[in-house]
């Protein structure tokens, strides 16, 4: 029988999903001249330990009196207690954020979005390709995989930045090069300081150093400025990795994070609840996932 009328009273009552909870900034320092690193936690330490999420998920962050915007989480859920973000100073909200200091408060609600399908990644070889600020969500995935290292196959990490100074978490990643359980490939496009001892070129130039891969058992995860996708995808697809095993995480304007405000709509999907992680196959048959008008200013 057809379901009759709208029985609102039977719907599950939830807490107000729009209400930000207050978090304390535990640490803040600059990663580059315009990107800040933040650590924050709920005021209550038990709440802090309970805050669970998946790599690739995002939160809606409020600065009191300034507004609210979506930011991806850069920390790993395998290290509970503190949430980490790298936030580039590009607008009014982010510049007021950059003026906040330790022990000041911000509002946070979430986590939102599908995140990376961690259970499906288990047993697979993982190839992570990051460009510029695209490293922000991928660091969460990378740390999670390294913390749960035995659950995954071969791990390759490729990261390209314009200069050594613009390479986020440079020291952290340089140390990964010393490990034998991860193939960490780093490149910069140019280095006026003369301090860079590693590879030069775009992130795509690192593909020649990959060595043999088991394409059918590999999941590639890519994030970077929209202009990067076209070039990186050419390489990844050429390796023979199936298109539904190539994942990417996207950015859109969002005012709610929970599928109500409409801004992040792409055809019948919402980036906030159906994404922000999509596969390359999604992108190929949904024309607007990588915006036509998108410029390289988006991430990097």
């Amino acid at each position: 029988m057809k379901k009759m009328c709208v029985v609102l009273d039977e719907r599950e009552v939830q807490d107000n999903p729009f209400k930000p909870e207050m978090f304390r900034i535990v640490r803040r320092y600059p990663l580059t001249s315009d990107v800040n690193f933040f650590q924050a936690r709920p005021m209550d330490v038990d709440e802090a330990l309970k805050f669970n999420y998946l790599p690739g998920q995002f939160i809606m962050l409020s600065v009191v009196g300034e507004g609210e915007a979506p930011f991806c989480i850069s920390s790993s859920p395998t290290r509970p207690g503190l949430l980490e973000f790298c936030i580039r100073n590009v607008g009014t909200l982010t510049s007021s954020l950059s003026n906040l200091k330790e022990n000041q408060t911000i509002g946070i609600r979430g986590p939102y979005g599908n995140g990376f399908p961690m259970d499906k990644l288990e047993g697979k070889d993982i190839m992570i390709v990051a460009g510029g600020l695209g490293v922000a969500p991928l660091r969460s995935l990378l740390l999670n995989i390294l913390d749960d290292r035995d659950k995954f196959g071969k791990v390759t990490y490729m990261y390209g930045a314009r200069t050594p100074e613009l390479m986020l978490f440079r020291d952290e990643f340089m140390r990964f090069k010393e490990r034998d359980d991860i193939n960490c490939l780093l490149a910069v496009e140019k280095d006026e300081s003369g301090t860079w001892k590693d590879k030069f070129g775009m992130v795509t130039s690192l593909f020649k150093d990959l060595g043999p891969i088991d394409a059918k058992n590999t999941v590639a995860v890519v994030c970077g400025p929209p202009v990067m996708y076209k070039f990186v995808m050419e390489h990844v697809v050429k390796l023979g990795i199936p298109k539904h095993q190539i994942l990417m995480t996207l950015e859109r304007r969002m005012k709610c994070g929970i599928g109500k405000c409409g801004h992040c709509a792409i055809e019948y999907l919402y980036t906030c609840i159906d994404g922000p992680v999509f596969s390359w196959w999604d992108v190929l048959h949904m024309k607007e996932l990588i915006g036509r008008g998108a410029s390289d200013k988006t991430f990097a």
Partner: protein, 341 residues
């Protein structure tokens, strides 16, 4: 579904009685247009009007309202100050619009602001007289089977009253003597006659069959650029559309203090800032891209997901757009490869 019968002359008495439950609102004349207004009695309403300027979504989801009061300590939600309202005279297309809003706002994460207003608003539907802009026949929204509390079908001497919810039933029970359960074969004949009559009223030339495929085929069609040449990006189509739900949020600040309100207000994907992200990248910088998004959402995407268009055929975009861009002209232009004058 429970269907009751009421004498036409008893409607006024009934509406007077149920005002005990909450404010009575209905369609009233405003110049040569029509709008929902708070009324005291049936005599103030214009039940012959085909469509109001703004659909009833404004009662569930006002054009602008405060979500939170904030200060340095945090955010305090502002709920609970919504009056109980009875909306009378809502047409099937608009009720279908409400059902689509219910899907958007109440499924998955449910929106407490929408939910509160939905619970405090009763929808008393009324049969309508289609005009030359109505196209609910093409969107399958010309009749309604759910979403209302009561629905009145005007059969000249009588109303047939569909009871769609327990709250609607409660209203009936406030004046049970005005309703009869005795339906006879004349009621069936009259109702069949009414449906035939209604079906014969539609004059709009419109056919949305196959639209999802046509949108897919016409993705790079120059028609979009030609339409964009005409479009003013004024966003009126979004304001009057029963299924446009997009909104924006801003924090308003009190002068000289770190406190204020977080406000939510209607937005339109026709506006340039709609898809703009920090750093200046705009995923829909071109007006043609924004137009295509709007119409994709009405005539393609929703069909893909729910099997029916998000357009409910109310005709408001037809009567509102100053440059004649609407679901009819756009769907025809995509099929005929020509933008009408």
């Amino acid at each position: 579904m429970m269907i009751l019968k009421m004498k036409k002359e008893d409607l006024s008495t009934f509406l007077d009685s149920i005002r005990e439950w909450g404010e009575l609102w209905g369609p009233v004349k405003k110049g040569d247009k029509c709008t929902y207004a708070k009324v005291d009695s049936l005599s103030q309403m214009d039940l012959k009007a085909t469509r109001t300027i703004i659909p009833p979504k404004k009662f569930l989801y006002p054009p602008r309202f405060t979500m939170f009061d904030y200060d340095e300590e945090g955010y305090v939600e502002r709920l609970g100050d919504v009056p109980k309202r009875i909306l009378f005279g809502i047409h099937p297309c608009d009720l279908h619009g409400v059902l689509i809003m219910d899907k958007l706002f109440l499924e998955k994460y449910n929106d407490p602001y929408y939910r509160e207003r939905r619970e405090k608003t009763l929808f008393l539907g009324h049969s309508c007289i289609p005009d030359d802009k109505c196209m609910c026949f093409a969107t399958n929204t010309d009749f309604i089977a759910e979403g209302f509390d009561l629905f009145f079908t005007d059969l000249k001497m009588f109303y047939l009253v569909w009871v769609g919810s327990t709250k609607g039933h409660d209203l009936v029970r406030m004046r049970p003597e005005l309703f009869s359960r005795e339906l006879d074969k004349n009621d069936i004949l009259n109702y069949t006659e009414y449906r035939k009559w209604k079906n014969a009223q539609f004059k709009a030339q419109v056919d949305f069959t196959g639209m999802p495929d046509i949108f897919e085929l016409a993705y790079t069609s120059p028609i979009w650029d030609q339409l964009a040449e005409k479009c003013l990006s004024c966003g009126q189509c979004s304001m009057v559309c029963p299924t446009c739900n997009c909104y924006n949020v801003t924090d308003e600040v009190e002068l000289g203090a770190l406190e204020g309100t977080r406000d939510r207000f209607w937005d339109s994907c026709m506006f340039r800032e709609y898809s703009l992200v920090a750093g200046g990248s705009n995923f829909r910088d071109k007006r043609a891209d924004r137009l295509r998004l709007w119409y994709t959402h009405k005539l393609q995407a929703f069909i893909g997901e729910f099997g029916k268009p998000a357009c409910v055929g109310c005709g408001r975009c037809v009567s509102t757009c100053p440059v004649d861009i609407n679901v009819v002209t756009v769907s025809n232009a995509l099929k005929e490869l020509e933008v009408g004058k």
